[in-house]
Assembly symmetry: C2
Homo-oligomer: 150 residues x 2
């Protein structure tokens, strides 16, 4: 009886592990999709701060960026996914997988900037949004400069 229970628990654990494992191709595709979705949101916010400001539209876009920034995308950088194809070939540099501290700093800055943008978007203060948007864009660029191939 005890053995049966142990086997059942083991089977459950293995199932969970199997489900949690992400294929390289999926990981790269999901990464590319999440960044492109944030790109759409950045484009929307840019259009608002440079053109006619619509508070609701900026909130929606900032909330998407915030949710994705806090989603734990690190899980998509599975070992071996420095090469491979999602929608297209990944452009990530292998250094992203080894520069732990530096990458962690950029990721932390990005998260903080995304949270700040969502916070000021909720107030409808276009000037504050423009400032927070610029800061967030800077964290995107710092990662692209160092860890994305042209």
């Amino acid at each position: 009886m005890k053995n049966k229970l142990m086997l059942a628990l083991l089977a459950t654990a293995l199932t969970a592990t199997a489900h949690a494992q992400v294929k390289t191709e999926d990981a790269i595709k999901w990464r590319q999709s999440a960044y492109a979705t944030m790109g759409w949101s950045m484009a929307r916010i840019k259009a608002n701060v440079e053109g006619t400001y619509n508070k609701d539209e900026v909130i929606k876009a900032a909330n998407v960026i915030q949710a994705i920034a806090n989603s734990g995308m690190g899980a998509l950088y599975v070992p071996g996914s420095d090469k491979g194809k999602g929608w297209v070939d990944t452009r990530v540099k292998p250094e992203l997988f080894t520069d732990g501290a530096k990458v962690g700093k950029i990721a932390g800055d990005f998260n903080q900037a995304a949270n700040e943008l969502a916070k000021v978007a909720a107030t409808g203060d276009a000037g504050a949004v423009k400032n927070a948007f610029g800061k967030l864009g800077g964290t995107c660029k710092s990662c692209h400069d160092d860890y994305r191939n042209k």
Copy 2:
């Protein structure tokens, strides 16, 4: 002076419109990206309700779905984007652009289900999440069945 002001206002309005216009290729790519990002999140939640449940992971994933569901993706269904290529050729059926009431109903159900999932995810009630997850999946399927080519 009055004419100059009018011209300046007109120029601003035109700029805003220009920025807000979305190219077909971008619209399709952003649509595909947003759905794939929700697909990633759905896969994470599925792994949690079928395997070992991690409250924080489910919250993160549900928040991504909720933010995208409420982002106003309808704006990405620009006229003429029933055909074209984003990452890949779009699979949308032209009927999605003409079945206003039916599409609106599906979109509303989807939004409501996404909000409900995020709400129950925050409580950590795995059973309620499983139920809400199933309902949300049903709204995805109803749109795929009618408006997405195989």
